[in-house]
């Protein structure tokens, strides 16, 4: 589904990713772990197509097509979803209006029927319930005045409605208390399916207690320096990243 080959990427002219290679197949859950500044967020942003994140060499293929040729919205319509580390607040645009525009665009691109207003509202309410968000949040501005945990749950709620093929979760667990983390994990686990892939980018092993990955990769210095199964995460928990990077851990 996702093939990243020898990816080099720069932010504002500074090279952050230095030869990253990763292969994700449908049905798999990958965890990408790494210390601060290792390039985790750069990877998420490059995959989603944020301005200023430039692929300098190598390639990223999604279902065989180079994502570099696709605009941000085309990637989303093709089924890539990024749950943001820091979801932005958009006062004046209601969550519901936003979900409607998003679902219409993505469903139309995938040849699905548009949802009528009633089914859309019903689905949105169900999704809210699944992530313990009060339905009042649908009426409020996008993320406006939401707490950190509410913002993260709002991301998962959107993911449930959009049903992406590839979900990238960028430090969705950071700053969450355990109750909220469990809600988020429940949402993600509910989406696990044989034709969907999930990539968890995280700083903390704790998330992996609730979402058990098939593969764990350690990202450091812009490259994946070690890959393994879920036991690798436990090893990292005990030994820290310094064991692999040969440096004192700064985090």
């Amino acid at each position: 589904m996702l093939e990243v080959r020898d990816l080099h990427a720069a932010v504002d002219g500074k090279e952050i990713l230095k030869g990253l290679t990763l292969s994700v197949k449908p049905g798999e859950v990958h965890a990408i772990m790494g210390p601060n500044g290792s390039g985790k967020s750069t990877l998420s942003n490059v995959l989603a197509g944020r301005d200023g994140y430039e692929i300098t060499s190598g390639e990223v293929l999604f279902e065989g097509k180079p994502v570099a040729d696709m605009e941000t919205e085309e990637r989303a319509r093709a089924g890539i979803f990024l749950a943001f580390q820091y979801p932005v607040e958009i006062p004046g645009v209601s969550n519901m209006e936003f979900l409607k525009a998003s679902l219409e665009a993505v469903r139309a691109a995938q040849g699905k029927e548009p949802l009528d207003a009633v089914s859309l509202l019903r689905r949105a309410r169900e999704a809210c319930q699944q992530v313990n968000l009060d339905q009042q949040f649908l009426k409020r501005g996008v993320n406006e005045g939401f707490s950190g945990g509410e913002k993260k749950r709002n991301e998962i709620m959107q993911m449930m409605l959009l049903e992406p093929k590839l979900a990238l979760l960028d430090e969705t667990d950071s700053g969450l208390d355990i109750d909220a983390l469990q809600v988020v994990a429940k949402g993600v686990n509910a989406l696990r399916s044989p034709d969907r892939a999930i990539v968890l980018v995280t700083h903390y092993q704790r998330l992996l207690d609730y979402i058990v990955p098939d593969h764990v990769h350690v990202l450091a210095g812009g490259r994946i320096i070690k890959s393994g199964g879920k036991e690798l995460a436990l090893e990292l928990e005990q030994k820290g990243y310094g064991w692999l990077t040969g440096e004192e851990e700064s985090a």
């Binding site: 197509g49 944020r50 958009i90 645009v93 998003s102 665009a105 993505v106 501005g141 959107q158």
Partner: protein, 406 residues
């Protein structure tokens, strides 16, 4: 002769031609005298620094508009609609709701009018007829009254649009003052509102003419004791748009809520000069204006609050927030405070910014194309202002009409 002197000559000629004997003769005469004394506005005058009037050299001031009978499509916003074409009142007025009467403006009621600009005087001097609406004491007028000024012409010309509204003590009215039409016609609008003691007015001033037309307007609101005025002023840009809004809170206890949205796209120009005077003590005014300029659009906002020496206990707030959609767009915003009493609360603020790239990326990352995302963010920016409007029909229409411009 400078262009300004030539335009001044056209103004005087236009005013002289309008002379005739009817119920407005004294008003025209008085206005013509004023016009002879006033200079034609130029950029060297502070109030016109950012708004040049070169567009008027196309000949709008040389010809008075002829009556039009075809009525443009008028959106159904009110329960009672009065359409005025090129400034000419209809021969028959519709049935009005109880508690409201409509009359022809005459010298008596117009005696005390002192417009704020040369164009306001020109409106009086060249007036063919004005609409006067009066409410009955202690009555609430049911429904929404929709007064439509439709200005339409294929050739450059000048149309005086005149409205006077008098709210009797304790009465209530919801009024839409709506400008539409197309062509190189200059709509010269003069509206005067007298809010009587303890009266309540909900007022919408909608300016939805097409982009090829011109509009110079003067809105005056005088508030008496304990009157409540809520005024929303919404506009899109055209060749030239200038509004001078002047509110005087003449007696204590009056409250004013004013909000405005102006959107200048392409090469359009919008200038709003707002002047709120707290003449009497214990009045409250709250103003929120939002501006957007894109492409080579240009907008000007000048918001003045004047607290008079005896106006102790005044509470006045003004904010003007602006969004620029392109590097070539320009918005000039200037708040002015003049305060002559120590016992007041007064706040003002201006912001200027571009569309936030992080917000744009967020929407696009959810599959929403860039054009739609830009529109949503622009709409979001103005919506909190539009949502404060009381009447749902107007609100829904405004959200979609202004959304088209984003």
């Amino acid at each position: 002769m400078t262009p300004a002197e030539q335009l001044k000559d056209s103004v005087l000629a236009l005013a002289s031609q309008a002379h005739r004997d009817d119920g407005l003769t004294a008003l025209r005469k008085r206005a013509l005298k004023q016009l002879q004394l006033l200079p034609f506005p130029e950029k060297r005058h502070e109030a016109w620094k950012y708004t040049g009037l070169n567009a008027l050299t196309a000949g709008q001031l040389e010809n008075a508009a002829a009556p039009v009978h075809q009525s443009a499509d008028v959106p159904a916003l009110g329960d009672c609609v009065i359409v005025i074409g090129n400034g000419f009142l209809p021969e028959q007025l519709p049935t009005l709701p109880d508690g409201l009467s409509a009359l022809l403006l005459s010298d008596n009621e117009a005696a005390e009018v002192t417009p704020d600009t040369l164009f306001g005087w020109l409106n009086s001097a060249s007036l063919s007829g004005g609409l006067l609406l009066k409410t009955e004491r202690n009555r609430k007028v049911a429904g929404i009254v929709h007064v439509v000024f439709c200005n339409q012409s294929d050739a450059p010309c000048h149309a005086s649009n005149r409205l006077q509204v008098e709210l009797a003590e304790g009465s209530e009215l919801t009024l839409i003052e709506h400008y539409l039409g197309s062509g190189p016609v200059l709509a010269n609008a003069m509206t005067r509102i007298l809010a009587g003691a303890n009266s309540k007015l909900t007022h919408y001033r909608l300016q939805s003419e097409s982009a090829d037309s011109l509009h110079i307007g003067n809105l005056q609101i005088d508030q008496q004791r304990d009157s409540r005025v809520d005024s929303s002023q919404l506009m899109r840009g055209n060749v030239l748009r200038r509004n001078d809004v002047h509110v005087r809170m003449l007696e204590s206890g009056a409250t004013l809520a004013m909000r405005g949205v102006f959107i200048a796209r392409d090469k359009s120009h919008i200038d709003n000069h707002i002047n709120v005077e707290h003449v009497a003590p214990h009045c409250h005014s709250d103003q929120v204006y939002k501006g957007i300029a894109g492409e080579k659009g240009r907008a000007v906002f000048n918001g003045r609050i004047h607290i008079h020496p005896y106006a102790k206990g005044s509470d006045a707030a003004l904010s003007n927030n602006n969004m620029l959609l392109s590097n070539e767009a320009e918005i000039d915003s200037k708040p002015e405070l003049e305060i002559y009493n120590d016992d007041v609360k007064c706040a003002h603020g201006t912001t200027m910014g571009k569309m936030d790239p992080a917000q744009l990326f967020y929407l696009r990352s959810r599959g929403i194309d860039e054009g739609t995302a830009t529109r949503m963010l622009g709409t979001g920016f103005v919506n909190e202002t539009l949502l404060a409007m009381a009447d749902e029909a107007v609100r829904d229409w405004a959200i979609s009409w202004l959304g088209e411009a984003l």
